[in-house]
């Protein structure tokens, strides 16, 4: 009994994305126009994918973290740290390989720190990652010595603004990371283990899952994702801005994960749907910009969307909505109506 692909395509997240895109098309008829110039595509739709890439990349790591019943508030700050490291490498003329790997290594180190606090010391994720959320920007400022470090390194600029097969590099990286991460968790047993840990940590322990190391590794992965996003952001503006790179993006990443259907209580998760969530957020941002509404509306619309999603996902409404959508009565199994009594 495989899940039919049609049903998967009709996930509420994709319907929502289509809805937002259609809305954008209505308020801005040129929205779906895509032009081919200088060996790459241009257009609002491409902008959505390009601009949405950093949050999409953050949401990939965030999905795994939230699925373990955790959260990582530090990803925005880690972006700034990674950007600062990349920029500093560029201006000090480090070899390309160092310039690309150093930010990732630093990001992984940040993730390991979070993971150490959460998994080994058992500190609540919210508090544990708050530490680096605050300290991270300080570290980034120390690296850039308080100024905005600008660079002209062609490799970094290519990562931030270049294109591959006609698509913007950030989007290409995000898609590759999404596919890679999805295959990694679903083709191995990692996905099942993550869900098991998120659903019942104690039972995972009794089942002899190596919860500690896995949670540690997942936070490290989250750090690497943040570092990738940070490198892209630095390449995009050709500089490292310790104060503003990735500012508040952790919240967008969490929102993307929640839109993607992963519960903040941990458990079942889907990386591709989180990426769709990130695209929904960016499509709304872009839509408001191209439609000529004042950008302040963006925040209010976002808040409205959050409310709608939370209502749709609320446990109390779920059976009713299920019935409406499927047009048939809810049929709990024989045991559903009974607890152990």
């Amino acid at each position: 009994m495989r899940i039919p692909s049609v049903k998967r395509l009709l996930s509420p997240q994709l319907i929502a994305l289509l809805g937002v895109l259609l809305f954008n098309w209505i308020v801005f008829p040129g929205f779906f126009d895509v032009a081919w110039r200088d060996g790459r595509f241009f257009g609002s739709l491409i902008d959505v994918i390009n601009r949405g890439a950093p949050v999409a990349i953050l949401s990939i790591g965030m999905t795994a973290i939230i699925a373990t019943r955790g959260v990582d508030l530090s990803v925005g700050a880690v972006m700034a740290v990674a950007g600062a490291v990349a920029a500093t490498c560029a201006v000090t003329g480090q070899p390309v390989i160092i310039m690309l790997l150093a930010p990732l290594a630093v990001g992984m180190l940040c993730g390991l720190w979070n993971g150490f606090l959460v998994s080994i010391l058992g500190i609540q994720p919210f508090v544990a990652t708050l530490v680096l959320m605050v300290a991270g920007r300080g570290v980034a400022q120390l690296i850039t010595e308080g100024s905005i470090v600008t660079f002209n390194d062609p490799v970094l600029i290519f990562i931030g603004t270049g294109s591959f097969l006609g698509l913007p590099m950030p989007a290409v990286i995000a898609i590759a990371l999404m596919v890679g991460a999805h295959l990694l968790v679903r083709r191995t047993a990692i996905g099942l283990f993550i869900e098991a840990i998120g659903i019942n940590r104690s039972a995972a322990n009794y089942t002899a899952l190596r919860s500690r190391s896995l949670v540690l590794a997942i936070y490290a992965f989250g750090g690497v994702c943040a570092a990738i996003a940070g490198t892209i952001a630095a390449g995009d503006i050709r500089g490292a801005d310790a104060n503003n790179t990735g500012l508040w993006l952790e919240l967008d990443a969490i929102l993307a994960v929640v839109i993607g259907g992963t519960s903040l209580m941990g458990g079942r998760f889907s990386i591709p749907l989180s990426v769709v969530g990130a695209l929904i957020i960016q499509a709304m941002n872009t839509g408001i910009l191209v439609s000529g509404f004042p950008p302040e509306f963006n925040l209010i619309v976002k808040a409205g969307l959050i409310i709608i999603i939370l209502v749709l996902q609320s446990a109390k409404l779920a059976p009713t909505l299920d019935r409406i959508i499927k047009q048939r009565p809810v049929q709990p199994s024989i045991q559903t109506s009974e607890k152990t009594g």
Partner: protein, 526 residues
């Protein structure tokens, strides 16, 4: 624990109160013709229940019989599709639990539904705090709390957090709250499931006092002994239908079981009692194995093809011993030898790689992954043993899951159903299947039959014997002596965190076990 409690008078156990004639006069609650369906599934079909003032009314039935649904309808959590409920002769339509509560119907659920991190006072008065000058009058609350709890023989610090008290005390507080709020009907949903024998006695004493005060008490339990000990009348449901409602004096154990199951259970014990075969070869040896502050060092040799029953009261160190043997807690003294080789158990992974499996006592907290499917719950220990790289694909998982669903007769609509939707007995079988899938040579089962219905109970008891015949070594912890006696080839007794006795052969009978458990108390008394 309350200390000023008089133990229940043993003489009163046999003395049933004579059935009040002309009972209709003191009928408190009547539910008639109750029908409740969920989709295509009929949970209750024309069920009746009449509760009299001053009676303990046992509501019995296997899992899925409809007990919980009926209780939820009486307490306003569900609305019936058909049928009527009247309280004191007046017809009522509850749409919320609050309405039922104010009509006098109070409930204490299986999992005590109080607030563990608030004080006893808060738990007793939350939502109805006495006010003084518009502020909560804490002094009055404390006074009242003492007064209320003293009626239950409980003299405790009412300012302490609820979670600092034992489950038994919490249960009494829950009952006190329910009685204060309601006062006509008290529904106790498996109140004894996590209590030990002395705590059960205390609870029963309280129930008898409330009965004397004229409350109608509904008592839901899986323990038949307790039904006969406490109740005046029994109503049995099966598959959503009323089987019958009888005065306890008109019933014996066999007829009650027959009402519940539609069949006799005697064969289970007949089949099992016989086996006295000597276990074959020693598998492992725990020598001076212990952990300070948890379990005193013990010596135990485990053979292939034997069941070692572990008896002892709650808190005697039974569960701690099991946790130690599985590496959840690490031993700080002694050694484990398997086939002559010294093995250290630093984590459950070490135990699993030696072919150990462990079904923990608290299924919900330590056992199941509620949102994962039955299939995933079954394969997860095997997958953990294989490691993350060697993933079982969906078809392989399905094959394993379906094999065990059939072999253990796990009742589920599909292997892809979330395991939380299954009944307790079926969840227990899923966890057993999880470990059997790892092809173990040593299984530890901690209270494998707690809180599950009679039918599943018998199946699990039979399964234990079958696994033993297959050459597995098993350690089974249980509070039910009849059960331990029926499958154990050896019984070890725990007391005060020490292994104090080992019984073999003819010594394995309930009275010797009880003597071994109680030995120290007897010495102290002399």
């Amino acid at each position: 624990m309350p200390t000023d409690f008089r133990p229940a008078d043993p003489g009163s156990v046999g003395n049933r109160q004579p059935e009040t004639s002309g009972a209709d006069a003191n009928v408190v609650l009547v539910a008639k013709g109750i029908v409740k369906t969920f989709g295509n599934h009929t949970a209750l079909d024309n069920v009746e229940l009449a509760l009299h003032a001053g009676e303990v009314h046992a509501l019995l039935g296997e899992n899925g019989a409809g007990k919980s649904t009926l209780i939820k309808i009486i307490t306003g959590a569900y609305t019936p599709d058909h049928g009527e409920i009247s309280v004191d002769g007046v017809q009522v339509h509850f749409t919320t639990p609050q309405q039922a509560q104010s009509a006098g119907i109070g409930t204490v659920y299986q999992e005590v539904n109080l607030l563990p991190n608030m004080t006893v006072i808060d738990n007793l008065f939350i939502g109805r705090q006495p006010r003084r000058y518009g502020l909560v009058d804490r002094r009055k609350m404390a006074r009242e709390a003492h007064r209320i709890l003293s009626q239950y023989g409980l003299d405790i610090d009412v300012h302490a957090e609820l979670s600092t008290f034992s489950v038994a005390v919490q249960q009494i507080i829950a009952i006190a709250r329910a009685v204060e709020l309601s006062g006509k009907v008290l529904i106790l949903d498996e109140p004894t499931a996590s209590l030990d024998r002395t705590e059960v006695e205390k609870l029963f004493e309280i129930v008898r006092r409330l009965k004397a005060r004229g409350l109608a008490i509904v008592f839901i339990t899986h323990f038949l002994d307790q039904v006969f000990e406490l109740s005046d009348r029994v109503t049995v449901l099966r598959n959503g239908r009323l089987v019958g409602s009888e005065t306890i004096g008109d019933l014996d154990r066999t007829s009650l079981v027959r009402m519940m199951l539609g069949k006799d259970l005697a064969f289970v014990h007949a089949e099992l009692a016989a086996d006295d075969t000597e276990p074959s070869s020693p598998l492992m040896h725990f020598r001076d194995f212990g952990r300070s502050g948890s379990v005193n060092p013990f010596d135990l040799t485990v053979h292939r093809g034997e069941v070692i029953g572990v008896a002892g009261l709650l808190g005697s160190g039974r569960t701690e011993m099991a946790r130690l043997m599985f590496g959840i807690d690490t031993a700080d003294q002694g050694a484990l030898n398997i086939d002559g080789e010294k093995i250290s158990l630093r984590a459950p992974q070490d135990a699993v790689s030696q072919g150990f499996g462990f079904c923990p006592e608290d299924r919900k907290v330590d056992g199941i992954f509620g949102d994962l499917s039955v299939r995933e719950n079954i394969i997860i220990a095997m997958q953990a043993k294989l490691g993350w790289l060697q993933a079982l694909n969906r078809d392989e998982q399905m094959e394993i899951a379906e094999h065990f669903i059939e072999a253990l007769d796990i009742r589920t609509a599909s292997a892809d159903l979330p395991v939380k939707l299954l009944s307790g007995g079926n969840q227990q079988k899923v966890i057993l299947a999880r470990w059997l899938a790892t092809d173990p040579r040593f299984l530890i089962l901690d209270e494998p039959t707690r809180g599950i219905d009679v039918g599943a109970h018998a199946e699990i008891v039979r399964m234990i014997s079958r696994l033993r015949e297959d050459g597995l070594a098993l350690i089974v912890i249980s509070s039910e002596l009849d059960e331990i006696v029926s499958y154990s080839s050896r019984v070890v007794v725990m007391r005060d965190r020490s292994l104090v006795a080992e019984l073999r052969g003819a010594e394995i009978n309930p009275s010797s076990i009880v003597r071994a458990i109680a030995a120290q108390d007897a010495e102290a008394a002399e």
